[in-house]
């Protein structure tokens, strides 16, 4: 369970997050949607202990990230970018992470197999395509076989096959009782993957509910999203 409670983040004079609250529950895929710059990545960075909140809390099973006993086995995270030095090979990248978390080298080969990167594992990360970089990020997130996945824009840069793969993969994870929180600005890709939807705009939550609740009277999630994030802010569903 991920619990975001009244989270506020200031950067300089700017208020990036204005007291947002939501939950991501086990067994469900929660889509965290919003236009670019709405505060999605800032929220995920605070949740993962990378940035400090000005006030409020972001908890994983009731604890801040830095207090987790075994972070890699609790939360798998893939943020924007590759998360890897471009001069290292994909395999070497995963190996140091495995080493830090006390996991075996065979687990590295397993996750390479899961994301379909086995053949490219010996290549330097700098030579990877955007899609391969995303797969590497997801491989790193899966290393500790965590019950919670936090993915920032996971379909960004993936080809149609890759998008289909991640969709199926995330659905399977949720069905086996795991918590999945993913952020995106691509509505179409998400409607078929998510159970719950949280929409953020200018650092405020403008909708929070099941896919059906948020879509409401609109034809599609995309229509609902534009209705909620255009000039009229809308009320929380």
């Amino acid at each position: 369970m991920l619990t975001i409670n009244n989270l506020v983040k200031h950067r300089g004079n700017q208020e990036i997050l204005s007291g947002i609250s939501f939950k991501a529950r086990p067994g469900r895929v929660t889509g965290f949607l919003g236009p670019n710059g709405a505060g999605k990545s800032s929220t995920l960075r605070i949740l993962l202990g990378l940035d400090r909140a000005t006030s409020g809390s972001a908890l994983i099973n009731g604890k801040p990230f830095a207090e987790l006993h075994n972070p890699l086995a609790t939360v798998g995270a893939a943020l924007d970018g590759f998360g890897a030095h471009r001069m290292r090979t994909g395999r070497a990248h995963l190996r140091w992470i495995a080493r830090a978390a006390g996991l075996s080298r065979s687990r590295v080969e397993e996750v390479l197999e899961i994301v379909g990167l086995t053949n490219a594992a010996g290549k330097r990360v700098g030579n990877y395509s955007l899609g391969m970089g995303r797969r590497l990020g997801i491989a790193a997130a899966l290393l500790g076989d965590p019950k919670i996945l936090v993915l920032d824009e996971p379909v960004n840069g993936l080809d149609p096959e890759g998008i289909r793969w991640i969709r199926t993969f995330l659905r399977e994870r949720a069905q086996s009782g795991n918590t999945v929180l993913l952020s995106s600005h691509l509505m179409g890709e998400l409607a078929e993957t998510v159970d719950d939807v949280v929409i953020i705009k200018h650092g405020k939550i403008v909708a929070d509910g099941t896919l059906e609740e948020v879509t409401g009277n609109h034809h599609t999630l995309e229509d609902a999203f534009f209705a909620l994030t255009s000039e009229h802010t809308g009320d929380v569903v």
Binding site: G49, L50, F65, H69, H85
Partner: protein, 252 residues
């Protein structure tokens, strides 16, 4: 905050060692430093042979390149910390090991583990080269003096590497960190020695010089090797502490 067990600390240390040894830039920096140092040692030895042969100290000539050699170790230190900020690796590091103070401390330890043998081999290679070329003409040196001097040189290069890593962690970007440190070591410090003669011995590089400088009769040793070591260590510890404090407080 949960306190990681000693097994966990060993795992984190080994991961930091993995990061350093799988980074091609680490090896490139060390190999280039080794080769350039030998070339410089050759040049200083040739100059020494043409000079007043017989009274030259092999140690002094073999370590004459130290001033330039330290540039390689400054770059090594900066690479160790700034490479975290390439490709967003820092996010992977901190979501794997969120205990920031411990993580950065183990990085310094891993860097020291790699730097100590590398610094000893590189410093010794220069002295060995001078010894082979000059053994017939130069004054005989005692083995324990040679070992003491090489240990001092290794210590100085290691402390310089760690100090550079701390500056790298503070600045987070490779190029600005290299510009700042090389400007200090090669421009600011040499110039300020003339303007600030009273405190010049207390800078990290000038104090560190006494760690390996072979005893000489024509110079007045202002600091003993132990004093030089103490002051250098203090500087390095101060910068490491400041880097860790900032690292823990700042957004990654």
């Amino acid at each position: 905050m949960s306190v990681p067990s000693s097994r966990k600390i060993t795992q984190i240390l080994r991961a930091e060692l993995d990061k350093l040894v799988t980074l091609p830039l680490t090896w490139l920096t060390l190999i280039v430093t080794f080769i350039l140092n030998l070339l410089l040692a050759a040049a200083f030895t040739s100059a020494g042979l043409q000079g007043a042969a017989g009274t030259q100290s092999i140690l002094k000539i073999g370590l004459a390149s130290m001033g330039y050699l330290q540039a390689g170790f400054i770059i090594l230190g900066i690479l160790a910390t700034c490479s975290e900020y390439t490709g967003g690796q820092i996010r992977t590091t901190l979501t794997t090991v969120p205990w920031r103070g411990l993580q950065l401390s183990t990085k310094y330890l891993a860097l020291a583990i790699i730097t100590i043998p590398a610094a000893f081999i590189i410093a010794a290679s220069g002295v060995l080269y001078a010894f082979i070329r000059m053994r017939d003409t130069a004054v005989v040196i005692e083995i324990d003096t040679m070992i003491k001097t090489l240990v001092g040189a290794t210590g100085y290069l290691t402390l310089t590497t760690l100090l550079s890593a701390a500056i790298g962690a503070l600045l987070r970007r490779t190029t600005p960190a290299i510009v700042v440190l090389l400007s200090y070591y090669f421009i600011v410090s040499p110039l300020s020695r003339d303007f600030l003669p009273s405190i010049k011995n207390y800078f990290p590089d000038t104090a560190g010089y006494y760690m390996y400088m072979p005893p000489s009769s024509d110079e007045i040793n202002v600091l003993t090797p132990m004093q030089g070591t103490g002051i250098s260590m203090l500087w390095t510890l101060i910068f490491i502490t400041v880097a860790i404090v900032f690292y823990r407080k700042r957004d990654a």
